[in-house]
Symmetry: C2
Subunit: 177 residues, 2 copies
């Protein structure tokens, strides 16, 4: 059985929408996703890099993230044909460990928590595929990287790309056959 490693933030957990909403509220801004296409919010407001990072250090931030559309259904289906691991770069926000774990147990109860991985450098991941929104994690990864479209990575080229979970389903259903 082949193995798919799946990132959390911006792949199954909608970090971007939460962060943008909090930012617009706190700074009386009205930035839309289109305004910052191709970059992260911290690149749009480098003067507020620390404040933006602080959102992610709030214990409740990760707990309350919305689930990305269709990810639950598609992962459940994929888990019949593939070994599924959730591999998240949690070391960047050590205060998030417990919330990330509880979020996964709540929203993906059908996954085995022995297959959750909190790491930093994802070259440590031994899998056939890695679905991730950050291309830096494909460097050194020994399997096939699959770029999950996020606002910030829209201009990246040269990778297998999926735009939503229905496309993830198609991508892998072709491979099983």
């Amino acid at each position: 059985m082949k193995r798919i490693a799946i990132d959390m933030d911006e792949v199954i957990a909608d970090l971007f929408t939460s962060q943008l909403t909090m930012f617009n509220n706190d700074y009386k801004e009205n930035i839309s996703p289109e305004d910052i296409m191709g970059k992260k919010l911290r690149h749009h407001r480098p003067d507020l890099t620390e404040e933006l990072s602080n959102y992610l250090k709030q214990p409740t931030f990760f707990r309350d993230l919305e689930v990305i559309e269709d990810s639950q259904e598609v992962i459940k289906e994929l888990s019949k044909h593939y070994e599924i691991f959730i591999t998240t770069a949690a070391m960047e926000y050590p205060t998030s460990f417990t919330e990330k774990y509880e979020w996964l147990k709540k929203h993906f109860p059908f996954l085995n928590d022995m297959n959750f991985v909190f790491c930093g450098d994802k070259s440590i991941i031994h899998a056939d595929y890695l679905i991730d929104d950050n291309v830096r994690h494909f460097k050194g990864f020994s399997g096939q990287g699959v770029l999950y479209t996020a606002n910030h990575n829209i201009n990246e080229i040269g990778y297998d790309r999926v735009n939503n979970w229905q496309e993830v389903k198609d991508y892998f259903s072709k491979r099983v056959k």
Copy 2:
């Protein structure tokens, strides 16, 4: 540069001594390591499996563990020639995440926290070597397993074995040369 993945509990963190001391104190016992050679404490007292597991769920338990002798010096030396990752099966005790992270930052400040991995099933680890006291983690591991001697694994045969950190040093110095 080749990569060594290193387990925490019973390899760099002395979980066994702490657990045995607490157990003897709480249950007015006087069990020595020799009394339970070749097995874990929970196999010696299966009636107390849950109570023994509860020790590991106390938030302070992992924070206060002693460092295994010579592990700091040898890992520091090894890190000149190898990529070092710390790979711990933290998903078994989700309440331990923060304490394990802080313990590593305190006792191994020279390691990059991007190379810390909290996981469950270690077949996800992509490394050339895995130093671990639990042989079950070698099953499915794609590299070379190196069994670090612990009280409970003393009767395991068929593995490369190291009895202390000086032997780890010797094991890898031969390979670099």
